[in-house]
Symmetry: C2
Subunit: 452 residues, 2 copies
């Protein structure tokens, strides 16, 4: 992180337009930290800072900015400057940026690039957002297993690694290709430097390898990297040809973004590329309003349920005292169950096939929870309304907690079966459904016990 | 993952006690997948499978099991077998297991190990759970910058890497120590294989490095690794001496566990080491019951608020129709705000110092949200209760949504100031608080407009 002293010096140098001080300062700051600083600067100041960096580092810092800031800066750059940046950026990052630029800008950049780069950008930019293809990089090291019938040996492979190293995102995994460019195996640099130089590559390469198709969702790539502790995951096309890699650091970013998205969904908030700190008012409004309004209409059903029992409420107005507490308890227990379920599904800890088993367990857990909460509340029921109200409240609590929990556990499953994201079973949605059912259960039990 | 065919063959081989088939089958299955399979077996079957594995792989598979299953298996192993496993396990995993074993078992294992291993286990096991020290590994490669005044060169460093490789978790980062065992720099294997063999280590090593004190929380280690895209993070003691490393794969596990814990907290569920799939009824009950009961008592306040306005409800029973809808909306908007805030703080996207700025933005966003929702509901208010009720409902909605949102945004900050985890500001808690305040706002506005 940038310390306070560095921050003060940076700000001073920018205000005073002190070129020398800036050039000196940026030497000591890591690219990602410099990017963090630039995010909070005006486009003007950001551009100025970037120009003081050597091209390699400039591309590195630029790559750490989010796409919104990148676009703002790109707008103000010369086409020559932007093209240079494109040449030095990581292949996956520049493809993302490319997708966000205006058509005119894209064409002018492509025109300035060499054929190879141009094709690389076009190819990577063609994958749909959210797929593994959209986050893969084309900067990796490959070695062909044999050339014209002669098998490649370790010394030759190492030579090739040394040669490719400056342009590769990772050289710690070397992918071995057969004559059809298909992925035949992998060698770690560890294996390479420990093997005898004259051994052939196909003798020591690992052939049991984990790979992924470019069309698979990026979460799946992230999950595989995490599960198998991979440094990089090779990405293949439908013909088993190696077309890219996803590195562990991109997998970490995907996992973080997915967790954020799931947490937001859990509170009925739509997804966004903008971080919360920088999000605009329009962005926040539009991500929140839809569900809020939808839930209002769901809650009208609760109100309608209450209105249906209007006469009973007039006769026993004490029932209203317990209404918020009972329906909230069903919603809370339901949110707990749905959250456990959604996260369990997301981490692969439970699967769709486990529903029956989990439902039985949930029934038992919820029964104990309902019993505990009924006991917690029965005395207050007696105090406020006598023995009959105490009974109504205790029985209602017991049943509402069980029903709420079972709904919470089941909703994510139902959504998956419908082809939706289970995380849509947000706390507010589960709570609203549990509220409606809670109202009905409460007044039904009251009707039967109070013989109204 | 294990495919269905492999699964069927594994089960068949276990039932039939078919040693040969088992030995052959496990060759093709990755350690983590085999561990996943063993988790769902009886201890007996798990032990049988493990014995068919060569010691190295057995330790690898065993290391991928969770600590609960490890302990169950360890109970049934001979002391000799368990000690052998300890020798071959990763240093961080064995220290975790060691901490869970009975004192008697610990002593018997320590007695069977060499002095160096014994001290390593004691040292790693001594760090408190949740600290960086508790997840660090001691299997890394170090090179001293100079010996007796002679500087180490690249060829010597590479020789040392080759020599240490079989026991190191990663050889891709080589840590350079000064004479006091302090961390002086780092060399990546990439730098090593590209450098001239006769160059000295201190000429090319990176001295600007990111490190962490062993006492820092493990989330901080995970965050640094993610932020700076590190393969491994060196861990130092108070005297800057290198005492361990945290690898990127452990950082991914920490990040996933932290996200799970935060999501669970967001639904008022306590933390646990057990996954949801395997959790016992007792575990689930105890993690859920405390907050549920606490929230019941919070909701009694809502009930009390309603009871306070009993006479008004008897006069205008239509007010009850809108009660669930209004208080739920405040709770929903509040949950959204608290979730955005909590996740923003967790990912470092916003900081405590940003509160004022964020509060102003939230006020504007919530005003628009409140206005939208008031408009959505005003017609129904008119239909159910005429112009005055429509006014009461619309004004209440507007104010309740704003107040709920501001509470949701602020609660995580207040908790941080009190030294608590901001994630404690769960959806159910925010909803309960918003409910109480919603009831009061609603009836206060009703009192004033209806001139009751």
């Amino acid at each position: 992180m940038i310390n306070d002293e560095q921050l003060a010096s940076l700000n001073k140098a920018i205000v005073e337009d002190d070129t020398l001080a800036l050039e000196y300062l940026v030497l000591d700051i890591k690219p990602v930290d410099l990017a963090g600083f630039i995010r909070y600067q005006t486009t003007q100041a950001g551009l100025k800072l970037l120009t003081y960096l050597p091209l390699e580092e400039r591309a590195d810092v630029f790559g750490h900015l989010n796409v919104v800031t990148q676009c703002e800066l790109a707008e103000k750059m010369t086409e020559e400057g932007l093209s240079q940046l494109f040449v030095h950026m990581n292949s996956d990052e520049r493809a993302d940026l490319f997708n966000e630029l205006a058509e005119e800008k894209r064409q002018s950049i492509l025109r300035r690039l060499a054929k190879e780069e141009r094709e690389d950008i076009r190819r990577l930019a063609s994958f749909e957002e959210g797929t593994t293809g959209s986050i893969m990089s084309s900067d990796y090291v490959t070695v062909v297993a044999e050339t014209n019938g002669v098998k490649t040996n370790i010394a030759q492979a190492l030579e090739r690694v040394r040669h490719t190293a400056p342009n590769a995102e990772t050289i710690y995994q070397v992918y071995i290709l057969n004559a059809d460019q298909q992925l035949a195996g992998v060698l770690s640099l560890r294996q390479l430097i420990l093997a005898k130089p004259e051994a052939t590559v196909d003798q020591i390469m690992t052939t049991e390898l984990v790979s992924i198709n470019a069309a698979e969702p990026q979460e799946e790539a992230s999950r595989l990297i995490s599960r198998y502790d991979l440094l990089a995951l090779p990405v293949i096309d439908d013909n088993q040809r190696l077309i890219g890699i996803v590195t562990y650091d991109d997998a970490m970013d995907v996992a973080e973004a997915e967790a954020t998205e799931d947490m937001h969904k859990g509170a009925s908030i739509g997804p966004s590329d903008e971080g919360f700190g920088q999000a605009t008012i329009r962005n926040l409004y539009s991500r929140r309003v839809n569900w809020l309004v939808l839930l209002v209409f769901a809650n009208i059903l609760s109100g309608a349920g209450i209105a249906f029992y209007e006469e009973m409420i007039e006769a026993y107005v004490v029932l209203v005292f317990f209404l918020p507490l009972l329906v909230a308890s069903g919603g809370n227990a339901g949110s707990q169950a749905s959250t456990l379920m959604i996260r369990g599904l997301a981490t692969g800890d439970v699967g769709i096939k486990d529903w029956g088993k989990l439902l039985v367990r949930e029934l038992i857990v919820a029964s104990f929870l309902g019993l505990t909460m009924a006991l917690a509340i029965v005395g207050i029921g007696f105090w406020r309304g006598g023995i009959e109200i105490a009974q109504v409240v205790a029985y209602s609590m017991f049943i509402i907690v069980i029903v709420g929990s079972l709904i919470g556990l089941s909703l994510p499953f139902v959504l998956v079966k419908l082809g939706w994201d289970p995380a849509t079973a947000s706390g507010p949605l589960v709570t609203s459904i549990a509220d409606i059912i809670g109202v009905l259960i409460y007044f039904a039990i009251a009707t039967s016990i109070l013989a109204f």
